[in-house]
């Protein structure tokens, strides 16, 4: 066998459904392969671990050419909810867990979950706003210490 990856640290910076799932799938997949994994939530990515918000993550329907919906239509009231509902239905058929369930599952795999201090301060949040699986609120320097010796993936 060739080279192997021993450790990954995944930065989650987006707060949309399509911005959050890829990083979660990569983190979960890493653990399934026996690769050590850390997740670092920053900026709008914090919504994925926010107790009150992580059940309400939406697909971006404006400025998302991949959706093949006209921008004026994407901005229509309720459009984001409808598209999110549709996509969640598609994912459920493939047994892809919801974001809250997925985050909990990934924590159960032993992956580390951390929130970015600067973003937490900027949004005036505290550790109580996050799900219990979040181990700590850390600085970028502490993130690099945790990521040392592994690959860093920005999403």
């Amino acid at each position: 066998m060739g080279e192997t990856i021993e450790k990954v640290s995944i930065i989650m910076s987006k707060g949309s459904l399509e911005g959050i799932y890829p990083g979660l799938i990569m983190a979960n997949g890493a653990r399934a392969e026996g690769i050590e994994a850390n997740l670092f939530f920053t900026f709008f990515g914090l919504d994925a671990i926010h107790k009150k918000r992580h059940e309400h993550i939406k697909v971006a329907t404006v400025g998302n050419p991949g959706l093949h919906v006209a921008t004026w239509l994407g901005g229509f009231p309720g459009m984001s909810s409808v598209m999110t509902h549709y996509m969640e239905h598609q994912m459920e058929a493939l047994d892809i867990p919801s974001i809250p369930e997925f985050v909990e599952m990934i924590a159960d795999t032993g992956a580390g979950m951390y929130a970015c201090k600067l973003s937490v301060d900027m949004f005036k949040l505290t550790k109580d706003d996050f799900i219990d699986q979040v181990e700590d609120i850390i600085t970028v320097g502490e993130f690099y210490e945790k990521a040392a010796g592994g690959e860093i993936i920005f999403t």
Binding site: N28, E33, G34, D95, D108
Partner: protein, 105 residues
């Protein structure tokens, strides 16, 4: 095709050590396969997962992923990773003598 001798029997495996032919597997091979994956002793809980892997494989044609194991095997995701730290579905498939499960979740 590479072969490997387990419990005195030669079996067909792929480059990653997964069985090519699950019918070549016998229960007495499991402890040796487990040791190759760093698991010194198989407990009843390990066996529950191993038996579930084989059952699913023969029913569905592919081994279960961690997601399926966590939902249907009776062993939680947390415990699965305690039993098989280097990846539950992957390691248990190798010990259970079935091909590596395909699936991203």
């Amino acid at each position: 095709m590479p072969t490997k001798t387990v419990a005195g029997t030669t079996v067909d495996v792929n480059e990653e050590g997964f069985f090519e032919n699950p019918d070549q597997w016998t229960e007495d091979m499991a402890p040796e396969l487990a040791r190759d994956d760093g698991i010194d002793a198989l407990t009843d809980r390990h066996w529950e997962v191993i038996n579930f892997m084989r059952k699913e494989y023969f029913e569905k044609g592919t081994g279960p992923t961690v997601r399926v194991l966590g939902k249907a095997s009776g062993v939680s995701v947390k415990e699965l990773y305690e039993l098989f730290p280097k990846g539950p579905a992957k390691t248990a498939a190798r010990i259970a003598g079935i091909p590596k499960p395909h699936g991203c979740i």
